[in-house]
């Protein structure tokens, strides 16, 4: 058989084989007209753009059959293979790896580039080579369950975290391996915590460890593309959102592997004696309202990137899975006695003294499809406010972190009348358990309302509507009616959060009541900047409490909405008790310890403080402020309103400490703040972008304008650029494929 065929195949598996089905939204007109290509060189021609690898039921029978019908020329290419597979399509049988008989063949079919089809609608700038063949598993290493298994390059993610006090340092190793008979470029979109400050990047080839260089984004991309084009092994890490990153690894040779290490740190959330460490494992499928800037599309594994620019996350179909698994180890050194440890996943713990504990993810919970949440409770009746400082030895610049906890007597304050606005995301991604949980949370909150309160319920998906024309009194009848209203809500349509935000903020505020707006959403949208801008401009006297619902929430959006809304964030996973969490949440928001806060910095000359707008202090939850200072550390006085009266408390300054991480925490906060401001500030000369870039380079951090690149220039691989293979990931646990990715 000629190698020039677009359809090139196969592996004769020793004892089993897969069937890969061509799925392509591209027309096949260009297939036969594609020029002949040689393995490893065909990327130069640009005729074949990427490889579609799939081994299971693909998008349901109808889609499979349709794809098949669209490729008559392909079918005719090699009848010996087709003969084994085609009858199943025609009999409408579901194709899966488990249904393939021994002796059958795996074939993986190349996608024709749009260039070759005479169109300029390409969205991927990385043409690849011709069709590839997956290699059989090594003897003795076959997976025990091969049903639906799709050959993909990411084998394993190893997470090793070290927690010291309130800062966590995390090393993430991504192990890529090429399961094909030609070299590939692996592309993987993955999440990191929204506060992650990515500071190190290494490409590992055997024992060789090549430290990546942080450069301006376009410069890094150009270096990577050139290295890839010339056949050098290289890797590139790009930030797509503060919590979404894209990893590219070029020229992975057949059967070989390349590892990538990403190191970041972040501060831990604290509430009521518990610290919380979160590692997200999957990017939720985003909905992009029309005209979204820089969208992130949700695309089925093997499908083409949608038109309109932006990037795409690839999702495995319900019957598909990859061999990618995850291990997580967390070493906790709390500095005080650890009283308890709990997690979203099954874990094993080993204690090494009262203050240190090692936590490991149990082996059977290693599917990376939901956030790993680890919480540990520390001893002590209550935390104390403190001021941590650090002076950079090189520049003499001082940095500080102020942690404010309300004094004990602030907890005994009266409850003020409230105007509660519940905003529910009723889009398709919330369908099922997430929406049920959100409704349960609202029902629980209704039980906490008192007669002097008012409330409103707003639902949004493609549009927004509300329970009452105006907020209604929390009477027994109104609450009963609200319960009936909740019962009727269904999850369908797009996630037009903007509609929900505007509806919730654009009506007159009752000055007699504290207005709290609680957003209950998974945050699966691609236009975060627009949402943040709408909150910023419309917040007025309201406070926003964002309530992330689901197993892999868009925590970046949740945190930013709460920050701009001077409120706080809480999370409700599918397995949590909505009633319990809402009770705790409601108790907190109905008792703010201090509002409208002003800080007297004493003799410290303070600048560049983040967050710029100080949020209210609530019982049990600290407010953390980080900034730069000159002069000597001094006592700080915090003033604010409590029961409409001015109150204050003093925080004593300690000595200048060795807290070098404060400067990077500050830099990360500054970058985040500048990024938020881009949403609403006019920036004709790109001054904000320039400031982000300079801050990132000075402090050696990833940002939207800086990327890490690493090249192994010691050896050039055979041939030129490899074929691009996108890593498909599962949709998050509890999220339906058919109402999210399947809708696109």
């Amino acid at each position: 058989m000629k190698k020039s065929d677009l359809l090139k195949m196969w592996m004769r598996a020793a004892c089993f084989a897969f069937v890969a089905v061509l799925v392509s939204s591209c027309a096949n007109d260009g297939v036969d007209s594609a020029p002949p290509q040689q393995p490893g060189e065909s990327g130069e021609s640009g005729a074949i753009e990427e490889i579609i690898v799939t081994g299971a039921k693909v998008g349901g029978r109808e889609q499979s059959r349709r794809a098949w019908r669209k490729k008559p020329a392909v079918v005719e290419r090699d009848m010996s293979v087709v003969a084994a597979v085609a009858p199943r399509f025609h009999r409408n049988e579901t194709l899966s790896l488990s249904s393939v008989a021994p002796g059958e063949e795996l074939w993986i079919i190349a996608r024709v580039s749009l260039e070759a089809q005479g169109t300029n609608a390409r969205t991927d700038d990385s043409p690849g080579s011709g069709a590839m063949v997956a290699r059989p598993y090594e003897p003795g290493h076959e997976p025990t369950d091969r049903a639906g298994l799709v050959p993909l390059p990411l084998k394993h993610t190893a997470v090793d975290a070290s927690i010291s006090g309130y800062i966590s340092t995390v090393n993430v190793r991504q192990q890529f391996q090429n399961p094909f008979d030609e070299k590939i470029e692996a592309v993987y979109m993955f999440p990191l915590p929204e506060k992650a400050a990515v500071s190190e990047f290494l490409m590992i080839i055997g024992e060789r460890r090549i430290r990546g260089i942080l450069r301006e984004k376009e410069e890094a991309k150009a270096i990577y593309e050139e290295a890839r084009r010339q056949g050098y092994q290289a890797s590139l890490l790009v930030q797509r959102r503060p919590n979404i990153f894209e990893q590219k690894v070029a020229n992975i040779e057949p059967g070989k592997g390349i590892d990538v290490d990403i190191k970041y740190f972040h501060t831990l959330a604290y509430q009521d004696g518990w610290y919380s460490f979160v590692f997200p494992t999957v990017v939720g499928p985003r909905y992009n309202p029309p005209h979204s800037k820089d969208p992130i599309h949700a695309v089925a594994n093997g499908e083409r990137t949608q038109p309109g620019g932006g990037t795409a996350a690839r999702y495995l179909r319900p019957a598909e899975r990859s061999a990618h698994d995850i291990s997580i180890n967390v070493d906790i050194n709390a500095g005080v006695t650890i009283e308890d440890v709990r997690s979203s996943h099954r874990i094993s713990t080993s204690h090494h003294g009262a203050e240190t504990t090692r936590v490991q993810l149990a082996n059977h919970t290693t599917i990376p499809n939901r956030d790993f949440v680890l919480e540990f409770q520390v001893a002590g009746e209550r935390m104390k406010s403190k001021l941590l400082t650090h002076v950079d030895p090189g520049s003499g610049q001082g940095y500080f972190t102020l942690m404010m906890y309300p004094p004990a007597d602030f907890e005994r304050i009266g409850r003020q009348p409230m105007e509660m606005v519940f905003v529910l995301d009723c889009s398709g991604s919330m369908r099922g358990r997430p929406l049920t949980q959100a409704k349960n949370a609202v029902r629980a909150a209704l039980d906490h309302l008192q007669p002097e309160d008012t409330f409103q319920i707003i639902r949004f998906s493609d549009n927004a509507s509300q329970f009452g024309r105006t907020p209604v009194a929390a009477t027994r009848q109104n609450i009963a009616d609200a319960r009936g209203y909740l019962k009727l809500l269904r999850g369908t349509g797009g996630t037009h959060v903007l509609q929900g935000v505007r509806t919730a903020l654009d009506f007159p505020h009752d000055p007699k009541r504290l207005r709290f707006v609680t957003f209950m959403t998974d945050g699966y949208i691609g236009n975060e900047a627009e949402i943040i801008e709408a909150v910023h401009s419309g917040i007025g006297d309201s406070r926003i409490f964002s309530f992330g619902v689901g197993s892999s929430v868009n925590r970046y959006l949740m945190e930013r909405m709460a920050k701009e809304g001077r409120g706080a964030v809480a999370y409700l996973s599918p397995s949590d008790s909505a009633r319990k969490i809402m009770a705790s949440f409601f108790e907190r928001i109905s008792h703010p310890a201090l509002t409208d806060i002003q800080i007297d910095w004493g003799g410290m000359n303070v600048a560049d403080v983040y967050p710029a707008r100080t949020p209210d202090v609530f019982v049990g939850r600290p407010v953390v402020i980080t900034g730069k200072y000159l002069g000597a550390p001094d006592d700080v006085i915090v003033r604010g309103l409590r029961d409409s009266e001015q109150h204050s408390f003093r925080i004593a300054a300690g000595r200048v400490g060795q807290n070098a991480s404060i400067s990077k925490v500050w830099a990360r906060l500054k970058i985040a703040d500048l990024g938020d401001r881009q949403a609403w500030e006019s920036d004709p000369y790109d001054e904000l972008a320039s400031e982000i870039r300079n801050t990132a380079l000075e402090h050696q951090l990833m940002s939207a304008y800086t990327s890490f690149v690493a090249v192994d220039a010691s050896r050039r691989t055979e041939g030129r650029r490899g074929t691009t293979v996108h890593q498909g990931v599962p949709v998050p646990h509890g999220v339906r494929y058919d109402t999210t990715v399947g809708k696109n």
Binding site: M203, R211, L214, R215, I223, L697, D712, A713, S714, R716
Partner: protein, 145 residues
């Protein structure tokens, strides 16, 4: 100590025909020679014609320095960089520290244009197990497959 290495063999060293691209990649091995075990070192690598961009810094051959060395941010400022400082240290036992001639790093470079870059390296410091400066010399070599 100052060492100069003209990069005449950027491509031939990797066993391929010379590419026509004006952008070329090459790897430079950096060696340290000492009579005592070395626990820390720092050197500067410069290129006189501003043709060089560092695209990776790789660990050397000693297990005592298993991780990749660190670089300073001069390598990434102002686009093309003509100077980079690279350093590393080890907390390993004295017996595990390298002595004699040891490859301490490989610097991966991108160069542009047809002119041959002129690399120059200066050893800033090398220290022994007790943290005292020790006599050492530094040298460069092209990486070969």
């Amino acid at each position: 100590m100052r060492v100069v290495l003209p990069l005449l063999l950027l491509v031939s060293a990797v066993g391929h025909a010379a590419p026509t691209e004006s952008v070329r990649f090459s790897a430079i091995e950096v060696y340290l020679t000492t009579e005592q075990p070395v626990s820390a070192w720092q050197f500067e690598l410069t290129e006189a014609n501003a043709l060089m961009q560092v695209v990776g810094v790789e660990n050397g051959e000693s297990p005592a320095f298993a991780d990749a060395p660190y670089y300073d941010r001069a390598a990434v400022e102002n686009g093309l960089a003509d100077r980079i400082t690279i350093a590393d240290f080890s907390l390993a036992d004295e017996k595990r520290l390298p002595v004699g001639k040891t490859r301490i790093a490989t610097v991966h470079l991108l160069t542009r244009g047809d002119r041959e870059p002129q690399l120059e390296t200066v050893l800033v410091v090398a220290t022994g197990y007790n943290g005292q400066a020790i006599d050492a010399s530094i040298s460069l070599s092209k990486s070969t497959e």
